[in-house]
């Protein structure tokens, strides 16, 4: 089985029915994507599949061999000097000091990043609707709300600057 993750092709030698979460974590060693419940409820395992947020714990790896998968390890980019440039969602999560234990946060950030690609100017209600299916046992919800709004602003400002330059 071949998978495309964070822009790289991986040859995976695992049983055909293996779930995407365990292929990513145990098979390929990218442990930033977390296990929380295995039944698609808590959202800790959320990755992007062709830009859409998806629960990797209930997604068979064989179902996404033709897709581009993004995990938390691929959310940041690298500039020309090879320096890591955090995604606006990551920057906002640090600026708002969102996480506590942070086990759920990869899933929270992947959910937020996918959502903001679809809706760059969300209302508070839309943010709540988009984020309310992810559990955070440490109870960081108030800060997640602020950080997603903050990330949206960063994305929009960057977009506006881009337009004025062109």
């Amino acid at each position: 089985m071949e998978l495309s993750i964070n822009g790289q092709r991986y040859q995976v030698d695992l049983p055909e029915d293996e779930l995407l979460l365990w292929v990513i974590r145990d098979g390929l060693g990218m442990t930033g994507t977390k296990y929380g419940c295995g039944i698609g409820i808590c959202g800790s395992c959320t990755v992007m599949v062709d830009g859409q947020a998806r629960r990797s714990c209930v997604t068979p790896a064989s179902a996404v061999t033709d897709a581009e998968i993004t995990t938390i390890e691929g959310l940041a980019t690298y500039d020309d000097a090879g320096q890591e440039v955090l995604h606006p969602v990551q920057t906002a999560f640090i600026e708002q000091q969102v996480p506590q234990c942070s086990w759920c946060m990869s899933g929270q950030m992947m959910t937020a990043a996918a959502f903001l690609q679809e809706n760059a100017e969300p209302t508070p209600e839309e943010i709540e609707a988009a984020m309310s299916a992810n559990y955070c046992r440490c109870g960081c919800y108030a800060r997640i709300r602020l950080a997603v709004a903050d990330a949206a602003n960063q994305i929009n400002e960057a977009g506006t600057e881009g337009e004025s330059e062109s």
């Binding site: 695992l14 145990d26 930033g32 955090l86 640090i94 000091q97 990869s106 800060r143």
Partner: protein, 676 residues
């Protein structure tokens, strides 16, 4: 977390009193012993501690906190406290950086490990005592190193100590601030052995603090935000395999017959492990290991037969006070006569539901063991693994990882021993990561409880007496930290009693505990007994207020505790009711109020809700907290926000239901948590 640091075997030289110097080309100073539990906490967990029941560490052979500054001017702070979301690594770094005048950007906080010469009794994280217990030792190390660096710099610069200024990990002469040496440069140029100064260094006075009391960003977020942080579930080693363990159908059931059956023939299976009432599988993938479990032939016998109905009937305050243990008594003589108001409250069994389930990676290599465990107390699995393998504990290198939260559950270390058993048999490193189902069913649970409150009022609606009785399962007892007989001597579990005391100034106050040990595993859950006791006490006060038609705020103000505590209650209540515009909730909304005292901190909370009981919306919460000195205000705020969410989640939704001797609640579809 890096392997270099976790495997370093340091050599230490004991110096003045409890300080130790690490030998080598760096400046490394540690402190050997300090009171781990505050006086309040000691009292709270009963006098047993003070009479020598717990083992005390032998002599200062190794430090339990130390700082190391290397010639490249980087400072590493080794701390014995586990980072599980509470921000303790940041808090401790702030304390160190302040006293030692460190540049915040040059600090790394490392989780210290037992293999570094740690005393296992010193390295645990529970009971909300980390900051209180380490505040002074951290500052003492910082101040000691500050004086050593100052004196070394004075010698190198041919100046007097008074002329030296330390700032941002640099030194300079007061009259020449342009010309600076880094701490690292001073250390690199130092000749001979470092010596701890004879005089006790003077700690910085409060007005000179530049980091304690300031909001500093968390030191662990870069790793966590990028997915690089390593938790117990994430630990990896070359050649590792995955383990799964057969679970009993009822708590306490014994495995009387176990055979491999067809499990060995299942895909991916490396080893079938059957020994001493234990059966497990090692396979190439987690799923293969779990799948093969059902091919084992297992027969279980005995164990709990308790049902939910029996549990609820058992966990009740008895009407005739049989077995009552007096916990608090104020005001002597007989209970006064008067009008009686009574209510009782039931708190169900609950799960920690920390999102990272129990996890360990253990490699048994002959007489030596390397173990990565998501644990709040590495000494416990080290002891257990040592017993299992019959090897000295010193041979076991427990490497504590980040924790995907703990809430008390990660004091139970079953998973480390399971992985050790499997690794010993399979001959490869084995990772055991519990499933959510295993975690909800086979963890230890917050015990259920029943609280009975009785108020006696005179004809003017003055409260003459308040009595609080509670029946609860064990929290502290039965977890292996204390011998069993202690529970029988004390009669009640002091941690179940947290939050039970009545501080309000009623003339007669009595609190009785009824211990209800269970054959269901129960134990520490965030805030211990405070969760059910405070809920019952404060809710009951509202019932009384309602009954006598008094505002709940007025009622509390009328019976404030005497002295300083009463003043702190008053300020907290005024602050939170001012902020929430108490008494003026919007139409369709209602507000509720509570205040509490726990381990030195006073907190008051107002919650505003709307809708009806079937469709209740929790709209807002206001909280006023008086915790005394706060090292990191935003970190404390985050903890308070999180506590409110977890408390509401548990109060609104959470209940573990007992089937036939086993919790039947299997996953989040049956145990939903509060969401945004």
């Amino acid at each position: 977390m890096s392997d270099e640091n976790t495997t370093t075997q340091r050599r230490w030289k004991l110096s003045r009193r409890q300080f130790l110097i690490g030998l080598g080309a760096t400046l490394t100073v540690g402190i050997a012993s300090a009171p781990i539990l505050t006086r309040e906490a000691r009292l709270a967990v009963n006098q047993y501690f003070q009479t020598g029941g717990l083992p005390t560490p032998d002599g200062p052979a190794s430090p339990f906190v130390w700082f190391e500054i290397t010639p490249d001017n980087h400072t590493t702070i080794y701390v014995p406290k586990v980072e599980m979301g509470q921000g303790i690594h940041t808090t401790l770094a702030q304390i160190a950086a302040d006293e030692l005048e460190l540049d915040w950007s040059t600090i790394t906080v490392e989780q210290a490990n037992l293999s570094q010469g740690f005393d296992e009794q010193m390295i645990f994280t529970f009971g909300s005592t980390s900051t209180m217990s380490l505040f002074k030792p951290m500052r003492q190390i910082g101040a000691t190193m500050r004086v050593m660096l100052r004196d070394a710099a004075a010698e190198q610069l041919n100046a007097s100590a008074e002329q030296i200024v330390l700032e941002n990990s640099q030194v300079y002469l007061r009259e020449n601030p342009e010309n600076r040496l880094s701490y690292g440069e001073v250390i690199a140029a130092y000749q001979g052995d470092w010596v701890i100064p004879e005089d006790e260094p003077v700690l910085k006075s409060r007005d000179k603090w530049n980091m304690i009391g300031r909001t500093m960003n968390r030191v662990d977020f870069q790793e966590k935000i990028t997915g690089r942080a390593v938790y117990g579930y994430d630990a990896r080693m070359d050649g590792m395999a995955y383990g799964a363990v057969a679970r009993p159908p009822r708590y306490g059931a014994s495995l009387v017959r176990a055979e491999a059956g067809t499990a060995s023939d299942m895909p991916g299976v490396i080893a079938v492990v059957i020994e001493d009432g234990f059966a497990g599988i090692v396979a190439q993938t987690r799923q293969q290991a779990r799948n093969a479990l059902s091919n084992l032939v297992l027969e279980w016998d005995g164990g709990s037969t308790m049902t939910q109905d029996e549990l609820e009937a058992y966990m009740r305050v008895p009407e005739d006070a049989t077995g009552a243990i007096l916990v608090q008594r104020e005001g002597g003589g007989a209970q006064p006569d008067g009008r009686v108001i009574q209510a009782d409250y039931w708190t169900p069994m609950a799960a920690h539901a920390h999102l990272e389930p129990q996890a360990a990676l253990v490699s048994v290599e002959g007489e030596r063991v390397i173990a990565y465990i998501s644990t709040q107390h590495p000494g416990i699995p080290r002891g257990d693994i040592a017993s299992l393998l019959d090897i000295p504990p010193e041979n076991i290198d427990i490497r504590v990882t980040y924790l995907g939260a703990g809430f008390g559950r990660k004091l139970g270390q079953d998973v480390g021993v399971e992985a050790a058993r499997l690794s010993r048999s399979a001959g490869v490193p084995v990772h055991v990561g519990w499933s959510r189902e295993e975690d909800l069913q086979y963890g230890f649970h917050r015990p259920p409880s029943h609280n009975m409150l009785t108020a006696i009022l005179d004809s003017n609606d003055r409260i003459l007496a308040l009595e609080h009785e509670f029946a609860g399962g064990d929290v502290f007892f039965g977890n292996g930290l204390l011998p069993n007989f202690v529970g029988n001597i004390l009669g009640n579990d002091p941690m179940t009693a947290f939050g039970a005391n009545i501080y309000y100034n009623f003339d007669h106050r009595r609190v009785f505990a009824y211990r209800r040990p269970l054959d269901i595993p129960t134990g520490y859950w965030r805030s211990l007994g405070s969760f059910h006791n405070l809920f019952a006490l404060e809710t009951f006060l509202d019932e009384v207020a309602h009954e006598i038609e008094v505002d709940p705020l007025t009622l509390r103000m009328d019976y404030l505790p005497e002295g300083d505590l009463g003043e702190r209650f008053r300020v907290a209540l005024e602050t939170v009711t001012d902020a929430s515009n108490w008494g003026n909730a919007p139409t369709g909304s209602a507000q509720g109020l509570a205040v509490c005292y726990d381990r030195g901190t006073v907190g008051a909370l107002v919650i505003q809700v709307s809708g009806d009981l079937e469709n209740l919306s929790i709209d807002q919460a206001w909280c006023a907290v008086d915790p005394g000195l706060v090292v990191n205000p935003d970190g404390a705020a985050a903890q308070i926000q999180g506590q409110i969410v977890m408390g509401l989640s548990s109060a609104m939704y959470e209940e573990l239901v007992l089937g036939d001797g086993l919790v039947s609640t299997q996953n989040f579809h049956m145990y939903p948590l509060l969401t945004m």
